[in-house]
Symmetry: C2
Subunit: 205 residues, 2 copies
C-alpha cells in the first residue's frame, strides 16, 4: 500500500480557485501554524512569523498590494509568511526549552551560537538566505498540514514586498517571503503540472 | 484518527547519527528525487538540481568542505540541493508539458513569462531568493518522502559554498542551498526539540 504521505506528494496541487462560501475556523488556523512550526530550521532558530490575514478589511488591503489576486479575498485565510534575518544572538533563548527538556546539554549552546555566528555575523546575504529557507520550510509543512485537513493551498510571490511590510507593520528584520492562501478549493483547479524529466535534475557522484 | 501526515509532522526529527552499515539503493534515491520534484515552484520554474553524493570518494570530498561533518560519510547519501537563479526565459520549455497535456492553455504562457520577468529580470536578489525558495521546497518534500520510507534526514548549512561549487562543478547560476543526508538513523538521535510558543509567531489581522 502506498504511504499516505507519498500519495499526498503525488496528488497535491496548487489551489487558485477557492469556494468563498466555505470558511475555516480560527482553531484550524492555529492548528495549521502549530504544525508549520514543527518544520526544521537551522540551529532551531525558528526565525519566522505567520500573519493570518482573515478579516475582509485586511484581505482587501493585502490584495491591493499583491497584484489584485482574487484568491486573497476568496480564500478563508492568506498567511503572510515572514522570515527574520538570522541572528545567532537569539539562539540561547530559542534553545533554552530543549535544554530544560533534557534533550540538549546546556554546554552545547555556546558552540551552536558560535557556529551560527560564523555563518551569519555581518553577512547580510546569508542572514537573508536563512530567512527565506526558514519561511519556506514553514510554508511547505503548512501546505502538507492543510492537505491532510482536506484544504487547498496557493502559494504566491506576486506582491510588492515593501508595501506588504508597510501595510502589515513588519519589523525591519522581517522579510515577507511568501503569501499562502488556504481554504476549500473548487473542482476547476488544475491538476499538478508535469515535471522535468529526472535526467535533467538528478545526477550521482 | 490522526492523519498520517499530521503524525509525520509531529514526529519528524532531524537525524544526525546514521547507521553506516545500512545502505539504500539507487532506485530509492531516484524515487526520493522523483517525489521531491513534485513540490511547488513559482510559475512551475523547477529551478533546482539534486546531486546525490554516493561514492566514498565523493563523500570524502564533500565532507572536507562541509565542516568535517561525520553524517556525510556515515549516511547512505547526501544530496547537494541546488537552486538555480530564476530566469523567466526558461518558462516556455518548463511549461510546454503542461500545455501538451491540455492542462494549461498555450496562450497563457506569454503572460506567465511576462509576470516572472517583472519579478526577476535584472533583479539579482529576487532571482536568488527564488533559488533558495525552490531548493527548500524540494528539500522539505524530500524529507517527508524519506520519512514515509522509514528513513532519517539531516539538513545542513554548515559548508563552504564556493568550495562545494568548485568541487562538484556547479554552473555559475547554481547555488548550493542545502546539504541533506539521508539514511537509517540510530536510536540515539534527539527527539524533535520544543518550539516557540505560538503567541510569539502567530497573529491575526
Amino acid at each position: 500500500m502506498t504511504h499516505p504521505i507519498i500519495t499526498a506528494i503525488e496528488e497535491r496541487r496548487t489551489t487558485v480557485l477557492f469556494d468563498p462560501s466555505r470558511d475555516i475556523s480560527d482553531e484550524q488556523i492555529t492548528e495549521l501554524v502549530h504544525l508549520a512550526t514543527k518544520a526544521p530550521t537551522s540551529f532551531n532558530l525558528q526565525n519566522w512569523r505567520f500573519i493570518a490575514v482573515r478579516t475582509s478589511d485586511a484581505k482587501a488591503r493585502l490584495r491591493a498590494v499583491a497584484w489584485d489576486q482574487a484568491k486573497i479575498t476568496e480564500s478563508s485565510v492568506t498567511f503572510i509568511i515572514c522570515g527574520q534575518m538570522a541572528d545567532e544572538h537569539t539562539l540561547p533563548e530559542r534553545l533554552a526549552p530543549a535544554v530544560e527538556a533534557g534533550i540538549m546539554p546546556a554546554q552545547m549552546v555556546d558552540g551552536w551560537e558560535a557556529g551560527a555566528g560564523s555563518l551569519y555575523n555581518e553577512q547580510a546575504w546569508r542572514q537573508r538566505d536563512e530567512a527565506v529557507r526558514t519561511a519556506t520550510f514553514g510554508a511547505a509543512t503548512l501546505i502538507f498540514a492543510a492537505h491532510a485537513m482536506g484544504l487547498g493551498s496557493g502559494p504566491m510571490i506576486g506582491f510588492d514586498p515593501e508595501a506588504v511590510a508597510r501595510e502589515f507593520t513588519l519589523a525591519s528584520d522581517e522579510i515577507p517571503v511568501m503569501l499562502l492562501s488556504i481554504g476549500y478549493g473548487t473542482p476547476e483547479n488544475w491538476p499538478q503540472k508535469p515535471r522535468r524529466p529526472l535526467s535533467q535534475v538528478l545526477s550521482f557522484v
